[in-house]
Amino acid sequence: MNTAQYKTWDEFTEGIWRQNPVFVMVLGMCPVLAVSVSAVNALSMGLATMFVLVCSCGLVSLLRRMVPKEVRIAVYIVIIATFVTAVDYAIQAISLALYDALGAFIQLIVVNCIILGRAEAHASKNPPLPAMLNAAGMGIGFAVGLFALGAVREILGAGTLFGITLFGASFQPWVIMVLPPGGFFVLGAWLLFFAWLERRKLRRAAPTTEAGQHV
């Protein structure tokens, strides 16, 4: 019982940190870079993707014994496209400004590799609850990654966060950061930062064992 609970919890947290879709697996880059111009856009895109991810993984998992193996990818794609259409209409109804800002990228959630990857690798082999938990973790990880990117780009590129001005009038916006090249640079810099963290962790672990060997 305890180990089962632990495993489920582990599946949930996996997507947030250890297997973060944005920073570790580097999947679904297109919406990440295109939409992360501002923190609000990034966060709403993250939430939309998370909704589609959780719903489609749940449904895929429920249908996992009924879908013939040969046509499973086609079935998954149709399931995902259904939820994306729902989200597309929902966002249009909630906020037209947001819909215009995100543009075609809401519909392009269909071809986000994270969703199909989760459906194929996890949801098709597990019961609905763990599958949805895992999907939720991945979705949160994706949203966090998007937000990290969007916040940095908005702060540097426009000097604001969530539309609130952070610096004095003398701040010169770093416009390149909200333009396409900035997306590549900021994501590259985040990846460098995580590689450096990883390296530092290894180096901290290494001297003790080395010292042990020398003694």
Binding site: A81, L108, L179, L191
Partner: protein, 192 residues
Amino acid sequence: MSESAFQIFVNALLANNFVLAMFLGLCPFLGVSGKLDTAFPMGVATTFVMLVASLCAYGLNLLLTAFHLEFLRLISYIVIIASAVQLVEMVLKKYSPALFRALGIYLPLITTNCAVLGVALFQTARDYSFVQSVVFAVGGGAGFTLALVLMASVRERLTLSNVPDLAQGTALSLMLAGILSLSFMGFAGLGG
């Protein structure tokens, strides 16, 4: 929308390059751009799928609009693209088995290339006519191929240079893509 065909082509090829300015099709852009030999055929195959998908999507959209079934657009587009990829796969297997083997797993993955779906969605959103759609698809495909070939050439050179280990891999590719994208910004406004 009364853009001329030439304007659309130049826009899709350079000023609004699918990969470097609109962030479409990044997965193959980062995945297949390791070697020039695979990058070019991949670009051509994707261009072809884009063209077929664009033609089908145009016809299908007329049909869907006639029956007021716009909400089925996304689902039917993705099914059409999957079938187009299947078609390309079968044709290649029959007439050019060597190329079919060279492309391997990347061929079926064209289905989940957002640049292909992007072409279909954008041409619908912008109400392009038949000719405009075709030109847009070809221009977008050519732009994708161009970006892929450029990236592959730079990365082939890069294997010879001395890069800090920390930056090896995806981080380096992203920085490269950023610089390429920076240079493509010089084309802004070219298509009018």
